[in-house]
């Protein structure tokens, strides 16, 4: 699925990549930018975290002329507040007069921090549904964006790629939720890696051993110490045995049913009581 999305075989108007400090989405965006440049006439890249040269130098030389980088850090008003808004990209796209265009944003975190999230979402929606734009890809940092804003963005996106650190070491893992234009929703989990030149390689379905959650689930299960031993008894209880055990009324506990007998020892267990199940009179010769 990831490969189809990168190469454009799978159509998606708005791809949202969510990342965190442990697994940065910038390298995936770089790969997306390069493959998107192959299939569109123009690509607007809005950079906030790295300067345009960072992207420009990495892209293959014959594709560079199609790439138009806009430095998101250049526009400040006289007080020093960031004034850049996505509407400017929209205007520039509209000037393209029907050229198939893609738009990429290297991080939405700063615009969301500086302005209310719904404003950014509305502008993104306008951008993604604009006639000339064939695809929008955006990175957002999960660890800096509150759940509400993330939810808004995910609601708008047709594809959400959640990047996760893979437990197997060098690789990366991702959860993809993709909604086709027909309305059918796909959910897949894939792993991938980058080579020395940061080009994506080895995209494969995520194996159970690579997945963080499953590993956690496995380790949280109680180990069975008798599994490998040839014992004549068993230590584990089945559900029905557990149920039967819970029904047993222990002697000397007040159960409220036998109030009639005259002499009886009643013991009410204390909260902090260290209940000893051994017979306390065991050592006496009675």
């Amino acid at each position: 699925m990831l490969e189809d999305l990168l190469k454009g075989h799978e159509k998606s108007r708005f791809i949202l990549i969510t990342d965190s400090l442990e697994c940065i989405g910038r390298h995936l965006l770089l790969n997306w930018v390069e493959s998107a440049l192959e299939r569109c006439e123009k690509l607007f890249l809005l950079c906030f975290e790295r300067p345009p040269d960072f992207f420009h130098n990495w892209i293959q030389p014959h594709l560079r002329q199609k790439l138009i980088c806009i430095n998101g850090n250049e526009d400040w008003d006289e007080t020093g507040e960031m004034t850049f808004n996505l509407a400017r990209v929209l205007e520039e796209v509209a000037q393209g007069e029907g050229t198939p265009t893609c738009v990429a944003i290297d991080s939405l975190t700063l615009p969301i921090l500086m302005r209310p999230a719904p404003v950014t979402c509305r502008q993104l929606h306008r951008l993604a549904t604009s006639d000339h734009v064939i695809q929008v890809a955006v990175v957002v940092h999960r660890d800096l964006t509150d759940q509400h804003a993330c939810g808004l963005l995910e609601h708008k996106a047709t594809t959400v790629i959640d990047l996760l650190p893979s437990v197997s070491g060098s690789g990366h893992a991702c959860h993809i939720r993709h909604c086709r234009p027909t309305g059918k929703v796909f959910k897949t989990r894939e792993s991938f890696d980058f080579d020395e030149a940061i080009r994506i390689k080895r995209i494969s379905p995520l194996k159970a051993t690579q997945e963080p959650q499953k590993i956690l689930a496995l380790t949280s299960q109680e180990p069975d110490p008798t599994a490998n031993l040839d014992l004549s008894f068993k230590l584990q209880l089945s559900e029905s045995e557990r149920e039967a055990r819970s029904q047993v009324i222990l002697p000397y506990l007040k159960d409220g049913s036998s109030e009639t007998s005259t002499s009886k020892i009643l013991y009410e267990a204390d909260d902090a009581d260290d209940f000893d199940e051994e017979d306390p009179d065991d050592d006496l010769n009675i």
């Binding site: 400090l21 390298h27 975290e49 300067p51 700063l110 660890d143």
Partner: protein, 263 residues
């Protein structure tokens, strides 16, 4: 001290940090030595340096530098170093008559320009300008950013301020470096969030923290270094980790569990 840290980072002491944006998180209250390391390293390289001291006065850095064999006073007189007394700016907030033009007070309202202009003018004063090639890439050091958060500047303005400074130092040719330190108290949400913001922006994150097992006389803490995408080209993330022991003028760095006291 300088040589040991350079060796651990695997960098050349004659040109580091070149075009790197270094963010130092101090989770142990002992990590101040890294700022002294960067300050002294850059002064030794004769690079144009602007230092914004928000946590200590110039005399403090001067005394420490003397111990490490660097003369900050002569660097300042030679116009290689300019020191912005951030502490004085903060205390001026409460002085009558000065409060209106105080750049830090304006930062409270999200107006980052006066403080950025102060840095810009300082760099200009030591001969760094966008129009002429200087003999060395400029360096801007801020120690420490958590002071701004503590006096009440909202997180988003602090991040915006750093973002502008990053843009400012990279607008020169050759592009400069930004070094920012940040103290992170346990459970302080704002400081931790600022750190995550900075880590996303930076090219090199250094975290100094206490040992997880608690205080130890022989091992004072640990350093975790994360190299990320450089400012102009992507690179694979790689980490380095070490434990350290500080003495009066020196630092001992050793791999985890390899302290001479243990061996």
């Amino acid at each position: 001290m300088l040589a040991q840290i350079c060796q651990f980072l695997g960098v050349d002491s004659s040109d580091f940090p070149l075009n790197e944006h270094v963010f130092v998180a101090d989770k142990s209250k002992d990590g101040g030595f890294l700022i002294h390391y960067f300050l002294n390293l850059c002064v030794k390289q004769n690079r144009p340096l602007c230092f914004v001291g928000l946590s200590q006065s110039f005399n403090h850095y001067c005394t420490v530098a003397q111990k490490l064999g660097t003369n900050l006073l002569s660097a300042r007189n030679n116009k290689n170093l300019i020191f912005i007394e951030g502490l004085r700016l903060i205390s001026d907030i409460v002085v009558e008559g000065k409060e209106k033009t105080n750049p830090i007070l304006q930062l409270f309202n999200g107006i980052t320009s006066p403080l950025c202009n102060l840095v810009y003018d300082s760099l200009k004063e030591i001969g760094v300008s966008s129009f002429q090639e200087h003999f060395g890439a400029p360096v801007l050091i801020i120690d420490d950013l958590s002071v701004l958060l503590s006096v009440g500047v909202p997180l988003k303005y602090v991040v915006s301020f750093v973002k502008r400074l990053q843009y400012l130092v990279t607008s020169y040719s050759p592009q400069g470096s930004l070094i920012v330190s940040l103290c992170i108290g346990e459970g302080d949400g704002d400081e931790e969030d600022t750190w995550v913001h900075l880590s996303h922006l930076g090219t090199l994150s250094i975290e100094v923290s206490n040992l997880k097992s608690g205080y130890c006389k022989e091992v004072h803490g640990q350093i975790q270094v994360e190299w990320k995408d450089s400012y102009l080209k992507p690179r694979k993330v790689h980490y380095k980790h070490t434990q350290y022991r500080l003495s009066d003028k020196n630092i001992e760095l050793f791999a985890s569990g390899m302290s001479s006291a243990v061996l």
